[in-house]
């Protein structure tokens, strides 16, 4: 199992890039060859690669929000223990 994980670790980026490419190719196939629109529920799904773009942007937005949240709420690990004898976790 360790050997398999080592191999996977070495190739994970390549697998990711291939996966990104194949997922776009897959959309080309089902749109223009398979015509599989039956299970679409939303108008935005008609935009090519919308899930790819949305996933990428959403991830960036979440990380940006994490930076903002960190700036506001970051404290030392003993924050709840500093008021020894008074604080909640004293």
């Amino acid at each position: 199992m360790k050997g398999l994980l080592d191999a996977l670790k070495g190739r994970v980026l390549m697998l990711l890039y291939v996966g990104c490419g194949l997922s776009l190719v897959g959309e080309v196939i089902f749109r223009f060859v398979g015509h599989s629109y039956d299970h679409m529920h939303f108008g935005y799904e008609e935009i090519f690669g919308v899930h790819a773009g949305w996933g990428f942007i959403a991830f960036g937005l979440l990380v940006a929000s994490a930076h903002a949240l960190g700036a506001l709420t970051r404290r030392d690990e003993d924050y709840y223990r500093v008021d020894d004898g008074e604080g909640d976790d004293a």
Binding site: S23, H41, H51, G55, A66, L69, R74, E86, D89
Partner: protein, 595 residues
Amino acid sequence: MLELLSELHRLPGLVLVLGALVLPLLPVTLRRVAMVALPILSYAQLLSLPEGIAFQVEIMDGLVLEPVRIDGLAMVWGHIFHIVAILASIYSLHVAERGVEQLAALSYAGSAIGAVMAGDFITLFVYWELTAITSVFLIWSPADKNLDRDPAECLRTGMRYLVIQVSSGVILLAGALAWLSARDWDPEALRFGHLHSGSIFDAELGAQLVFLAFGIKAAFPLLHNWLQDAYPKGTHTGTVVLSAFTTKMAIYALARGFAGTDELIALGVFMTLFPIPFAVLENDLRRVLAYSLNNQLGFMCVGVGIGTALSINGAAAHAFAHILYKSLLFMAMGAVLYKAGTCKATEIGGLYRKMPWTAALCIVGSLSISAMPLFSGFTTKSLTMSAAGEAHLTWVALLLLVASAGVVEHSGIKIPYSGFFSKEEGKKITSQDIDGEAPLNMRVAMGLTAAMCIGLGLYPAPLYAILPTPTDYEAYTAPHVVGQLQLLFFAALAYVLLKKRGLYPKEERKIFLDSDVLYRRFAPAIARAGWRRGLGPLWTGTLGLGAGLLRGSLGTLYRWTGPGGMFGRSWTAGGITRWSGAMIGFYLLYIFLWS
């Protein structure tokens, strides 16, 4: 009440609650057998019960309890609660010490099973509170002292957890009584069924209180922080159990009582989103999973809020799959905690070299929670997304996609990467510091759970068949599979690019304030300031005045009755006679004038 005693054998979960009491008395081998046998026995008992109300018990004049209701909705939870109880028992078989932990775990599981089968408010309330009381011992347990668990801190955390959980039960009881009172104590109103749909602001007080009680245990925003506070403080086996029951029991209760309640959609969407930045930042990987749990509960709340047959199926299926993959992830992090002594991302690195099986099984959990096709999250979360589509809730679907990208971040990448594959340089605990894999029983439990995650992904039909409304839903359509793959791969691509450019937040030995700061710091600070500036001086002044009055009264009393006082000194016989005569005369005059 005698009727209830004669029907005890038909109460689901009671085998676990009572059986658990015997566990500490058994020798270690027998205890291990019993730990697995009891949930199996309980499951067999549940499956033997016929559908419908099993029996009724009259507790007061006309007031009838229905402690056991077997139907499609309850049985989804009945199945999965038993399955996870069996898996969690296998996972904790290596714990040889005779502790309160095993007792608490099984009785907690039994209480949660009893709660989802409860047909009336009183039974629900009893089990609701029992889950609180039993589960707190998984946090208070003195075990794992050497594993990054400070007993004193666990005690305080457990106390906070207990107060919040018990408060939920008290509010539930108040709501149930208000509900009954509004119906002139009609015995039929005691039955726990659908309470409200539409806006919760239009609901009556009783329904609103019950909604609040369920919301506390479902970890609604601002009511949520007991979860991230308490779950990382459980023992390495206890947190697996904790993660499975309370919150999903609350989702069941919401599905039973509040399907179609509008606010659940907005609350659910918010719940899917707000924990993600916290999970990105958090250092303790079990706390990351606790935030992730909150995020997943949001998806279920959306399903309940939409309120259609498909969406309720979605919530139920998601709860079923979620319990499995979340348990698997908590098991993997429990194994890391057990072997490395900590599961803080800043402290561990390269553990996959010594724990390859645990790492591989953790990846299965990560792929499942990320809803990767062929894994259980994909075949279950899809129902809720489709239900949002059928209801034309475009903004809901778009925001749930954002949340799905977030799941990739915290549970899909961060947990396996930080837990097993991060660099060893600069880390306190590396593969050199641990002596090998997690114990066999832990790996077996993780393996079985992982097999179910894959099985439900490859062949979800058996799960679809037991949903409240059996369905032949088709998850594997080309647009759906491709869309999901794009979302996952490009979210992961964003992670890689941000990481390479140094824009992704590094894990730090820090904490990040959440809503618990309100009751752990702000409220005590306000109370202290109020005491110092207002109530304190008032109290001191009142005490001073009281003491002054008391001192004055005692002084006066002493002056009159002390050695030198009028009533204290020795009187002559003549004096006594004069005063006695005067008093008798005064008394006779009084009777004469006023009688």
